[in-house]
């Protein structure tokens, strides 16, 4: 109970009179895989955008690891160890797979403003990058341009880049969206593996994934928290059944 890594209080976002996120109080416990569920348009992605300051909250406070980060910029928040992925895959298409990951690691070297230095200094990072790529089965593709990867592999690359940042808190927005079965299973396993020792907050529609790895679930609907608890509790919650999973939920789960 004591170890809350992320806490929002009264977090609200209004777009021209439309409230996309409505007084959300979210508490994410350190070490958990925490899933954010909700029907389309519930405000999940918006929530992520608020947490990482890609959008400015209309109201409310965000506290991360004891610091109030409400007033910080996206980059500052990222440097605190909150790293996100995007709903639509976000890689650097014309860089190689290796360079994609190295860009992240490079930040720690403190040389990022050194325009007079060569790239040799960065080569020392390559071993670490390759180890990370190994983890997501991308090692063979290290020299390919990211743009040439199949979709599922791009998502894996994105996760690898995120991991390279040694995040305390990873925010994953629908990591399995648009993937075939094999990829879904691989990525699920991967998330489970990388979640060890850190905290993950993820949005996911695939109930099979959620059921198998989430420690805790928050369900949003119309911007507000509808229910919270573990999978068993939430999936039986009548309001959730009505608003999200629907009556045929049991029939559909795992259909993907």
């Amino acid at each position: 109970m004591s170890d809350i890594i992320l806490e929002t209080s009264d977090l609200t976002k209004e777009f021209k009179g439309f409230t996309a996120v409505d007084a959300v109080n979210l508490r994410v416990q350190r070490g958990h895989i925490h899933a954010l569920l909700g029907p389309n348009g519930a405000g999940k992605t918006t929530c992520f955008n608020l947490l990482t300051k890609f959008l400015t909250p209309t109201r409310g406070r965000i506290v991360f690891a004891g610091h109030d980060i409400t007033g910080e910029t996206s980059a500052q928040i990222a440097r605190r160890g909150v790293i996100r992925s995007f709903q639509i895959s976000a890689v650097f298409p014309h860089l190689t797979v290796l360079e994609n990951v190295r860009i992240g690691l490079q930040r720690f070297t403190g040389t990022s403003f050194h325009f007079w230095k060569g790239l040799t200094g960065l080569k020392t990072l390559d071993a670490k990058v390759l180890a990370l790529l190994e983890l997501v089965d991308l090692r063979d593709m290290a020299q390919l341009k990211a743009a040439d990867l199949p979709y599922g592999r791009k998502r894996a690359l994105e996760i690898a880049t995120t991991m390279a940042m040694e995040p305390q808190l990873m925010l994953l927005d629908e990591p399995t969206q648009g993937m075939g079965h094999e990829d879904v299973d691989r990525v699920t396993a991967l998330i489970k593996r990388v979640a060890e020792g850190r905290t993950v907050l993820m949005v996911e529609h695939n109930m099979k994934v959620v059921a198998s790895i989430a420690d805790r679930i928050t369900v949003l609907a119309r911007g507000a928290v509808l229910a919270e608890g573990d999978y068993a509790t939430v999936s039986k919650h009548p309001a959730v059944l009505e608003a999200y999973m629907g009556t045929e939920a049991t029939e559909l789960q795992g259909a993907h």
Partner: protein
């Protein structure tokens, strides 16, 4: 050694030999100045995706400041050049702070607006000499070399160019350059990895402005004057054209573009005369007064047929043939 570097070295040795091969040194120097200007511009647009429509402001600022420093303050030539470049970088910093958070066409427009305001200042300020320009800037000497000889000046200018080009190459292939590339490719992602993209863009902007300034200062030194033409918006347009014609985002492209455009400006009349003499068609004689018409046609052809610029297209051709050969 890197084959690319060997290529560049060969290129510069070639340029160094040009006067011996009968090229007119002042013309080549002018091309070099514009080439540097275009390379500086390309550093910004090609590697950060920020299209400045106000780069003439930096060229002009440095041209006037360097000219004033050499002529009125009587500073030594190298100091004058540095002062000019620094002044441009300073203006770049101000422009950058104001513009850098805007993107796309709005970034272009705000740089244009700021540059026009600066142009107005140059027009009004007495030290620029209005449309008559700041004339008879002395060449002085450079580290003991007397610059009054065109040839000496030529090698000094070439040296400046190579140094600046090396710096640009360095910037592109540096940790900083890597971050710039990632910002251009996907800014949101770069931010989410913890990079303050605005700071990186600002530094790129200032570097580009400073290098453009170096080009302007060198140009003043070469030609002996600075005029409003250096600071007017059409010059900002010109450098965009050079970069596009040569190939945006390639290192050599802007140099080629500068050569093409400057040659067009200076040589088309001669070309017309030559055509008229060899073909006997008198109409070609009129080509000299139709620079803009011919330029217009070239742009149309470029946009319709050589979109990646001359160098860009050549590289694409090369890339296409190589894997075929390898297979």
């Amino acid at each position: 050694m890197n084959p690319k570097l060997i290529g560049y070295a060969a290129l510069f040795v070639g340029i160094a030999l040009l006067p011996a091969l009968g090229a007119y040194p002042i013309f080549v120097m002018k091309v070099l100045c514009y080439a540097l200007f275009a390379c500086a511009f390309n550093l910004l647009v090609g590697f950060t995706g920020l299209l400045s429509f106000g780069h003439a402001a930096f060229l002009g600022t440095a041209a006037y400041v360097c000219g004033h420093a050499l002529k009125v303050w009587g500073l030594p030539t190298p100091v004058g050049l540095v002062v000019g470049a620094l002044a441009a970088a300073g203006v770049g910093l101000v422009f950058g702070l104001l513009a850098i958070r805007r993107s796309g066409i709005y970034f272009s427009m705000i740089t244009l607006a700021l540059a026009q305001m600066l142009y107005f200042f140059f027009l009004q300020a007495p030290f620029t000499g209005g449309e008559d320009g700041l004339q008879s800037v002395p060449r002085g000497s450079f580290l003991g070399l007397d610059l009054s000889s065109d040839l000496t000046l030529y090698y000094v200018v070439l040296g400046i160019f190579i140094a600046a080009f090396w710096l640009i190459y360095r910037i592109v292939h540096s940790p900083f350059g890597q971050v710039l590339t990632s910002i251009r490719e996907n800014e949101a992602r770069a931010t989410s990895l913890g990079y303050d993209t605005a700071h990186f863009k600002l530094l790129a902007f200032v570097l580009s402005a400073g290098l453009a300034g170096l080009a302007g200062a060198t140009k003043t030194l070469t030609l002996g004057f600075a005029t409003l033409t250096d600071a007017i918006w059409t010059t900002s347009g010109l450098v965009i054209l050079m970069t596009l014609v040569g190939g945006m985002g390639t290192l050599v492209g802007p140099m080629v573009g500068a050569l093409v455009i400057i040659a067009l400006e200076n040589k088309i009349g001669d070309a017309g005369k030559w055509l008229a003499d060899t073909t006997g068609v008198a109409w070609f004689n009129g080509l000299g007064e139709s620079v803009s018409l011919v330029t217009g046609l070239i742009f149309i052809v470029c946009v319709l047929a050589f979109r990646r610029g001359l160098v860009g297209e050549a590289m694409a051709l090369w890339d296409k043939r190589r894997p075929a050969a390898a297979r």
